[in-house]
Amino acid sequence: MPEPVLAFLVAVGRRVRETARLMVGVPDYDAYVRHVRIKHPERTPMTYPEFFRERQEARFAAGRNGKCC
């Protein structure tokens, strides 16, 4: 397969994965780490398991709306 096509397919695959994760309330972990590193260099970002747990709790926490009909 030519390289640009392959690169394109990999990029699409990443987006699909990102979409599937966000559908269940887990945003992009790398973006989170990048954000903490740049904006709050004094903090240590959560590890991925911590991040996952935090997001899981937040999805069903108080003040969130349930699912649609």
Binding site: A20, Y32, E57, G66
Partner: protein
């Protein structure tokens, strides 16, 4: 206009011609069946043209989205709740959040009038009302730090309407949970196969939950794959369970038993830690939902089924067996989600505005997301219309009309004018692996038969009919149960908030006693309506679905009133018709429907008339079916009074919001300057 600009409209003109042709075939063909693809083509053309010419008109002329204005995702970026997100990724998130059982069930029920009224309302409703509401609420919330609809009503209309809107939302949630649970009960009654596989989702979800918490933390893909394989295995082995002489009678349950099981399940599931049951089930149901919707679209494109249901049936006069009441107003509340759904206003002011990268994406996500939801409704209408009308009516008519045997049911349906033989009913039941298909109201079984018809045409043929039927039932039951768990949890939080204003200790959501008390109250609220639906003389759906439709459309009216107020306060009143016209239409539908549901003299439509009918009979010592004694007769009377009261409350909520809305509009008009409460303007940071 420059020639190049005119040229750019040419492909759209071609699309318009194609769409008009397809719509013409759908609307005007009489006496012979048409291919479902005409309906699909017509819908896709309407959606694309609606987006290009109306959605973008709203974005550029009415709302004047500003790509240079910073969105909450950038302003409050924390990498968690507020994250600037790729627009296609966010579209997927938004669609998964708004799509549910609503657009699947409503069109199935509406098919009793034929497919034509349903498809016309779906298309017109979504372009001019539903997608407009979702988009504008998303825009309004984005301009206000991603705040929720309750907060927005409070800020723009005042604190009292804010509380009224919150209270209304809680009532609507109760009705939604009850009607969703009723759909599951109706689908699983006397179905050991269905009961087994839906029950099996509980241990499967727990296994997934433990896996993703302790064994391989956060591996969503792995655990979902494991869950999916086990789920398919449970469908496969369900067949053996239904044939087993030991398990089959054990899992053949009546409606009342299933109701109690569901109520107990709802209570337990919503107090357990979310990682154990609720979250893994949510993952499974979300992926299965999106996957099945895609699969169904491919299936319809490959099989290209013919629509067996006539475009119009004689039941447009309001005497239909599935639900009672005339085309106006009841068609417009029966198909709620798919055309316009007030519940979406909660999502459009929930997580989505916090992740919007740029205002110019709002039309694609808000307007476009709703178009996709509407497409799901079109597919449900196709699935319901491609099965034999005789079978459709045998599945959806109350047992009291049909009688218990295939012979009596076939005779009753044939008398309605839809020829069907007892053999056809028995054979269809056998093909899908069920004991009977007679009077399986609620939409889910009918949709499952239609989906099995389509999906088995792609994969597996007749042999796989039963598998696909149960796959479709599982698909619906899974995300309905997720909605029940999650809804009970959010209902509990709302109640704790509400009760907390009187007893402050109730606000502590982590404390055990307030948690259990509020959960019990919430479960009893929807459990009451569910139980009442199961023992209802007209079959439950007949009573609860219109109540749900009225509630949902009234919430939409509230959202559109808010949008109108905001447009006026922004001094864009020359465009206020874009929300004012659909508001007037929704008010006309819901207030008429609300009035008829309470006061109609026809006991099949009016709650008070039904109460009077059973009350009079009880006074004379008579017992009317399905009541078995006088105590049950009195219960039916009480139930109908409560339903009438609930309906009256919805009407009062919407009238109150309307009054406050008009007050705010007048104030906004009188002010020489814009008065909308937007967050302060900040320019978009450089990338």
């Amino acid at each position: 206009m420059k020639p190049s600009r005119i040229l750019s409209h040419l492909p759209w003109a071609a699309l318009a011609v194609l769409g008009a042709t397809a719509l013409g075939v759908v609307a005007l063909t009489r006496g012979e069946t048409i291919n479902a693809l005409w309906m699909v083509i017509a819908s896709v053309c309407v959606f694309l043209i609606g987006y290009r010419y109306y959605g973008l008109f709203l974005a550029h002329k009415v709302l004047q989205v500003d790509p240079g204005r910073m969105t909450p995702a950038h302003r409050f970026n924390d990498g968690l709740d507020y994250v600037p997100t790729n627009r296609y990724v966010l579209y997927g998130h938004h669609f998964a959040a708004i799509a549910g059982a609503g657009p699947l069930v409503g069109p199935v029920l509406a098919a009793q009038m034929g497919y034509l009224p349903g498809i016309l309302w779906i298309l017109a409703g979504v372009v001019f009302a539903g997608a407009v509401q979702d988009f504008i609420i998303l825009f309004i919330s984005t301009r206000r730090d991603g705040r929720s609809i309750g907060d927005l009503v409070k800020a723009e209309l005042g604190p009292v309407p804010g509380v009224i809107a919150l209270f209304g939302t809680f009532l609507i949630m109760v009705i939604i949970l009850a009607v969703l649970a009723l759909i599951v009960v109706k689908a699983l009654t006397n179905s050991p196969w269905g009961t087994f596989m839906v029950g099996a989702t509980i241990p499967i979800a727990i296994l997934m939950g433990v896996y993703a918490r302790y064994l391989r933390p956060g591996r969503i893909g792995e655990m979902s794959l494991i869950g999916f394989v086990l789920l398919m295995a449970s469908i496969w082995f369900g067949k053996d369970v239904s044939a087993s002489s030991f398990l089959s009678p054990l899992l053949t349950l009546d409606g009342k038993t299933l109701t109690w099981l569901l109520i107990g399940y709802g209570f337990v599931a919503s107090v357990l830690p979310v990682w154990l049951l609720l979250a893994p089930r949510d993952y499974l149901s979300t992926f299965l939902k999106v996957g099945t919707i895609v699969g169904l679209a491919i299936g319809i494109a490959i099989v290209a089924p013919h629509l067996q249901m006539p475009p119009l049936t004689r039941f447009v006069d309001g005497t239909g067996p599935v639900w009672s009441g005339g085309l106006f107003p009841f068609l417009f509340i029966t198909i709620a989600c798919g055309s316009v759904s007030g519940f979406h206003a909660l999502i459009a002011s929930g997580t989505t505005p916090k992740m919007l990268d740029n205002e110019r994406h709002a039309a694609f996500i808000g307007y476009g997301g709703m178009l996709m939801e509407s497409f799901v409704a079109v597919m449900a209408l196709v699935a319901a219309s491609c099965i034999e009308p005789g079978i459709y009516f045998a599945m959806n008519t109350p047992l009291a009309v049909l009688g218990k045997t295939a012979e009596s049911a076939a005779q009753a349906v044939t008398q309605m004018g839809f020829v069907v033989t007892p053999q056809q009913l028995v054979e269809t039941a056998r093909a899908v692996g069920e004991n009977t298909i007679i009077s399986r109201a609620g939409g889910a079984p009918t949709l499952a038969v239609g989906m099995a018809h389509i999906l088995s045409g792609v994969l597996g043929g007749k042999v796989m009919m039963a598998f696909w039927y149960h796959f479709a039932i599982l698909f619906e039951a899974l995300f309905i149960l997720t909605a029940v768990d999650a809804g009970t949890r959010s209902g509990r939080f709302m109640l704790q908030d509400l009760l907390g204003t009187f007893v402050p200790s109730f606000k502590r959501t982590e404390a055990l006693i307030p948690n259990l008390v509020a959960t019990a109250l919430c479960v009893s609220a929807w459990g009451y309506f569910l139980y009442q639906g199961v023992v209802d003389p007209l079959g439950g759906i007949n009573t609860l679905w219109p109540l749900f439709g009225v509630a949902n459309q009234m919430l939409a009216a509230v959202a559109l009133i808010l949008a109108t107020v905001v447009l006026v306060k922004m001094k864009r009143q020359r465009y206020a018709w874009v929300t004012a016209v659909p508001t007037v239409w929704l008010l006309a539908c819901t207030l008429t429907a609300g009035w008829q549901k309470i006061f109609s003299a026809n006991p099949k439509v009016g709650f008070l008339a039904q109460a009077a009918k059973f009350g009079d009979a009880a006074a004379k010592g008579q017992v009317l079916g399905p009541a078995k004694d006088l105590a049950q007769m009195h219960q039916i009377v009480v139930n109908n009074y409560i339903d009438a009261g609930m309906c009256g409350l919805f009407v009062l909520v919407v009238l109150a919001i309307l009054a406050f809305g008009i007050r705010s509009v007048l104030k906004g008009l009188a002010s020489p300057k814009p008065t909308a409460c937007e967050s302060e303007y900040q320019p978009m940071p450089d990338a």
